[in-house]
Amino acid sequence: MFEDARDLGDGAILQADVCVAGAGAAGITLARGLRDQGLRVILLESGGLDLDAATQDLYSGSAVGTAPIDLTGCRARFFGGSTHWWAGWCRALDEDIFEARDWVPRSGWPITRQDLLPHYRQAHESCQIGAFEYDPDAVSERLGRPVLPFEPELAANVIYQYSPPSNFGAIYRTELNNADDINVVLNANLVNIALSEDGASVARFECATLDGTRFSVQADRYVMALGGIETPRMLLASNTQESAGVGNSSDMVGRCFMEHPHFYRGGFLLLPETVDMSLYTSRHDVMTRDGDVERQARVVAALGLSPALRRQHGLMALAATVSRGDFNASADVIGPLARQVGELVKPGGGFSLYSLDLRVEQAPNPDSRITLTDARDALGIPRIELNWLIQDEDKESVRRTLELIGAGLGKTGQGRLWMPLDNEGRYDPPFTNEGCHHMGTTRMSADPSEGVVDANLKVHDTDNLYIASCSVFPCGGFANPTLTIVALAHRLAQHLAQEMP
């Protein structure tokens, strides 16, 4: 059922088995999963059912650092959260992203991909995509559309699946409204995490509406599903009992902010016109299979490296999506040599240009972080400053990866790759954009001194506080995070149900 916090009496105390703050992909998934386990859930949502300017303004802050981040344009603060604006790209993280990689400081998840696999399958259903299959060769064969015949020692193809995209607020609204054990409280802003006297557990979530109503929620378990910026913000801002904020004895809350830098037109390909690139340049419907499960999926191919290759060369992950390019429109980026190099690809003419948009993994960097400022929002909560840093090492990894993909393409005999380099030969993309993927700020770790949450997403410093968000990702890979967020939420629901009597 839905209710409006503005209708609560001032000072009201709500009670449940589990209180979840944030009704986006993670919060809604968690609520549904907990309901299925027979638990009573209060799901708090800052906004209402539609976008509201005053609520959205609660997201405002300042963004500094290497590249701009849009703090209010990427995140939707109403029921359904950022799934209202989600583009629907889905892919599970590759197995190496979960592993400790000695060339990536602070890498490694305290869980394996195998641990998450059953929940990825659940997430595939929640996100309304195909079966858990990402095999480019199988997809290519079923569709009768080729992929570039890379040798595995040089480059690889990757497959994305597309969600419709699933607007969780729209598709699950009726279900939640009809669920007796889920109470969705709209216009309810978490304003403070109140700890017990000994500081070991959360005593209540203190909440407020924009029109001044104050209330609180008491539960056996509390979950923050507020996204990668708002979650650390609220932990840091809840500092009346612990001066560094809740869960921050490691001083890691807000740190290691990672995005997927999107380097649009970050590379180009020259290929003979006869090469069929349709599997890369447009989406296709295909049957996908995973054991006994068969389901229609909408897919597209992209370029990248295999985990084995990344390991061999000590590289971060990336994927390059492909679209048709135009020589004249691209001349300002790729310079005047394109048509000449084309003569190497297809003597006498008959070659095509393709543009690459890169989605790139960043190494965790503690200095890339979210901190609080003195400015306050309408609820009196400190606004944030986000200092997003892109390191030279991140770009050098891109350069070396594209070099391998270019070598792989050359070896197929089918084309050549271009990448933007500065006068020193360093990767120098013409455009750097955010991906709206805010990761790493309450990272998972086995060692409490190195992160914020444990393998079960429980905040190290507390007994009963959990986080469901891509803020828990220790490393981000290149895959869009929504599918993994939903998988983690499914897993957390199972864990809480098993843990609670």
């Binding site: 040798e151 020692e153 040089l154 001349a331 790729i334 310079g335 005047p336 040599l337 394109a338 048509r339 000449q340 190099v341 084309g342 003569e343 190497l344 003597p347 006498g348 003419g349 594209l402 070099e403 391998l404 270019g406 070598a407 792989g408 393409l409 050359g410 070896k411 005999g413 050549r416 790759l417 271009w418 990448m419 933007p420 380099l421 030969g425």
Partner: protein, 153 residues
């Protein structure tokens, strides 16, 4: 018949003129890409004693390997490659020697072309890449562009 070194040098010098004209290509802007000014020759003058030997006519091999391609385009790529990777006569001579060595002992043109093809594949396998204005080229093919620019122009 293979030209004498003197004849080759004359060919190269005359080829430089063609290089200057050919370098403009369709876009007319190659000179802006990497060279200091349009009056500066891209190709250093290689002394006779530094020119590589081969059983086959080097110009013929270069021409055959790039058969069908726009000559001005190949010259343009070769010029940019030299500007970036072999900016003096010693470097150019070394580069020429390296690429000519691939077919220097061969007497059959087809075998020479196949050897060059194999060298390109081997370069990509070994990720031996020359980034020519950002284009990821096999070292051998970049050197061949340079050779073409000198020998054929």
């Amino acid at each position: 018949m293979k030209p004498s070194r003197r004849e080759f040098l004359v060919l190269t010098l005359s080829g430089l003129g063609a290089v200057m004209v050919g370098a403009c290509g369709d876009d007319g802007n190659i000179a802006q890409d990497n060279t200091p000014n349009n009056d500066t020759p891209f190709m250093p003058d290689i002394p006779d004693e530094q020119m590589p030997d081969a059983r086959l006519d080097i110009a013929q091999v270069a021409q055959a390997w790039f058969e069908g391609a726009d000559a001005a385009a190949i010259v343009a790529v070769g010029n940019v490659y030299v500007q970036r990777f072999a900016p003096d006569e010693d470097a150019v001579a070394d580069d020429l020697a390296t690429v000519v060595a691939i077919f220097a002992e061969l007497e059959d043109l087809t075998e020479a072309l196949e050897a060059l093809d194999a060298a390109v594949i081997a370069d990509f396998e070994a990720v031996e890449i020359a980034a020519v204005s950002g284009w990821q080229l096999a070292r051998t093919e970049a050197r061949m562009c340079s050779l073409f620019a000198q020998a054929v122009g």
